[in-house]
Symmetry: C2
Subunit: 253 residues, 2 copies
Amino acid sequence: MSLQQKAHEKKFETGLREFIETAPGIFLPGVSIDTVIFSFHSDTLKVLLLRFGHTPYFSLPGGFIKKEENLDDAALRILQERTGLENIYLEQFYTAGNTIRSRDSIIHDTLKKFTGGLPSNNWLEQRFISVCYYALVDETKVAPQTEPFVTEFKWVDVNKIPKLLYDHKLIITKARTRLQADLDEKLIGFNLMNETFTMAELQSLYEAVYQKKFVRTNFQRKMLSLNVLDRLDKQYNGKAHKAPYLYRFVKSK
Amino acid sequence: MSLQQKAHEKKFETGLREFIETAPGIFLPGVSIDTVIFSFHSDTLKVLLLRFGHTPYFSLPGGFIKKEENLDDAALRILQERTGLENIYLEQFYTAGNTIRSRDSIIHDTLKKFTGGLPSNNWLEQRFISVCYYALVDETKVAPQTEPFVTEFKWVDVNKIPKLLYDHKLIITKARTRLQADLDEKLIGFNLMNETFTMAELQSLYEAVYQKKFVRTNFQRKMLSLNVLDRLDKQYNGKAHKAPYLYRFVKSK
């Protein structure tokens, strides 16, 4: 182990011990927040994962609620602190509360390994009920940042999610189901597409979310029936008669 | 005040004091559950409300989560304990977590009045984040029962909800919005209609939930397109040619 890595791990341990001591005075007990941040890029639906400190393990961006903080405000703050993402429209979709979800032996073993043993029943090892939020963003427009407990972030294909800490893989599955059910309604709010886009680009998004192909003509008919799209006039540019129509979202639904 | 009423109020006070003392050893801190139980009867969408002890105030059926109990199991237990309703299909739909929601002066004044003053920061007056569930039942098939903290229950027209404790009126509004969004998908799960029903009966349910009229032919087309209905053969009974078709839900979707 290099000196630099040793210093990093020492900092991680010190940070953990400090957090466990101060957390009870700052946060509500027993309730956490997890966020599922989807991106859609290169026709692929992805999820933002964070590496937990200097462990080999990844998890969703998450955190805790301050004693005098509204739940939704806490979700936005946590996302900002963990990833640098700001002004994201987060949608609450599920609250995970099985007793087994906090009994993750990897977490316990990791905490033990990195700290040489923590007080039993410490803050991080209590039972948590987690309120889950999701969002859909354009990954090219955001720049997640690392912080002491997060040493790496990555966007992972939603079909290739590795084993994650806690029940976070299940939470991603639930988020995706909700995204499918909500996509029509959320198209504008998520502000996901470019200012203007083709019907084929929109269809790619749907196909990535639903993980299946749609028939072009049916898809176009369905989208137009939602009454959320403005079709732009074609600009004459010498070969415009071959270019596809461009659309944008109507300003207010 | 009659002797009987006085005895009731004394019992309520004793129960409250006992609850506040024992609750921290039994339940998770800071998390509660509220349930919105809709019924559909006589073409009216209603919600089940409970009177809080011997106060004039009503609230949703709610309670707390035991330390070793799964969240969904707690919701079912609470509903059973508060109302006698069993084997209800509950759907989690929202978690309420604004700081202001637990600062209900009516609750504080009522607790003070009935007990002559409780320890500050007692169990009932802490901040709660509440996980909310809803269900849709046939009120004629269920028989809610009272218990010490619940002295009355009633089904109230969803358009005529009185002022309720905490943010329960807002929670009902959120539940109704979710019910509207989910109704197509939940029709079978909620097991709401009789075994067989006419298209007009089904339309009444939709009109009560959405609080608007539908055109009969459009409604029928939409319902048939869901592929959840079996149309029964008409039975010959002498005047059957005038009777409407009966439908039932397909066994598995």
